[in-house]
């Protein structure tokens, strides 16, 4: 009887270990550009958080808007003050679902093209998006890469008429992150 219980307990724990297959990073890179022929508008943030559950295919990103670094200090100030209003909306997040997550075998070094659908929240506005990306398994770590295009107008980021030719209406966002097992 005692043995049986121990076995049950062990089994319960073992299964819970498997189902807790989560991967994470706190140093994901998110960069974007809204370049036009007149102005180079680029920024990078190297402290994006990401958690992915391999068992369910759920994935979440979070990033502090103030953490985006620009080449030009004034551009960074305007980005925070006038466009993204980072004191009002400090975080941008993405909560999504990877459709073919079952193909991701974390025991083998493989590259899996994935499609992700979920909610992207920027500037306090949430929109459903779908994007393509890749997940590469390399010695027990997951390398995520994806690019998304967003329309500034979709997220209620208003650009004054005076500078509307200097800022691209669509912004390219590049995401690169290497996830490690979450213990």
């Amino acid at each position: 009887m005692k043995h049986l219980l121990s076995v049950i307990l062990f089994w319960a724990m073992a299964t819970s270990m498997v189902s807790a297959q989560k991967y994470f990073t706190k140093t994901g890179q998110i960069s974007f550009n809204a370049n036009t022929s007149i102005e180079k508008i680029e920024a990078i943030n190297k402290s994006a958080s990401c958690v992915m559950d391999v068992e369910t295919g759920k994935i979440e990103f979070g990033v502090l808007v103030k953490g985006f670094q620009f080449e030009k200090a004034l551009m960074q100030e305007h980005f925070n003050e006038n466009y993204l209003e980072s004191s009002k909306f400090p975080k941008a997040t993405f909560k999504g679902q990877i459709d073919n997550y079952k193909k991701i075998d974390t025991t083998k070094d493989i590259k899996v093209p994935v499609k992700v659908t979920g909610d992207l929240t920027i500037h306090g506005v949430t929109k459903k998006i779908t994007t393509d990306g890749t997940i590469q398994v390399k010695s027990g770590k997951l390398q995520l890469s994806s690019m998304i295009n967003v329309l500034l107008a979709d997220y209620k980021v208003s650009v004054p008429a005076l500078v509307k030719d200097q800022i691209s209406k669509t912004v390219k966002i590049q995401i690169d992150a290497t996830l490690e097992p979450l213990k």
């Binding site: 958690v51 502090l64 953490g67």
Partner: protein, 296 residues
Amino acid sequence: MRNQLLLVVTAILFSISIVQGQNDDLLSLLGEDETTDYTNASFKTNRVINLHSLESTAGGVLDFKIGHRFGTLNGGAYELFGLDNASIRLGLDYGISDVLTIGVGRSSFQKTYDGFVKYKLLRQSTGKKKMPITAALLLTSAIQTLKWADPDRDNFFSSRLYYTTQLIIGRKFSEAFSLQLSPTMVHRNLVKTNAEKNDVYALGAAGRIKLTKRVAINGEYIYLLPNQVSGDITNSLSLGFDIETGGHVFQLHFTNSTSMIEKGFITETTNSWTNGGVHFGFNVSRVFTIKKKKLE
């Protein structure tokens, strides 16, 4: 038996907690890292109107300043309410780092050259490092180069020199409201009469209210402590708007001071708001990024 029961209960509870854990927000598993959040943009630029604001020029950025003060409104229609006369200051400010700014300028009023060093002592911040205020130290000097009033007497170069020491203490209370105090000492090497003090103490106060994302209303007042300067000197009061358009900040204002540098607007303001001795004026600030920040 009791022990076994305990084991079973523990096992069940454990697996339940795991299942629940999966329904939770994934990101919350990582916990919150506390970061220090420095307050910025307390004012649109590093000047309120005449006074230095608590903001500095960012590191690697050159700020070209054009300051203009027309004549006084009480000049009437004959002087087109002051527009016939103008005094100008051209200046360059450069941010050596985010906390250290230097600048030079030349004013047509009294043909004066000026230079300053501004160092941020404290930066307002929240989060990991908490600091309720921003504080900066400003040191300026000015050389007045008018021809000697009396060339026949012994004139010394040192008589042309003026120094200002100012502490700027302020806080951005909310997105829209910032306030600062500027205790100041102006040293004048030469004064006109015995009754005037070489060292003049004053207290400046300045604030801004943001009306929209790109427009703010600014005000500043400088109180001179009594019995330091001749009787015709008044306290400086200025009110105006900041309008920001990308790389430019336009500041439009009304002020009773003609000079745009500390020794002038603090110790030499003679016009008064009460009799219409008010100048319309503007400052234009245009920034150039000289040294770009490395993104990698």
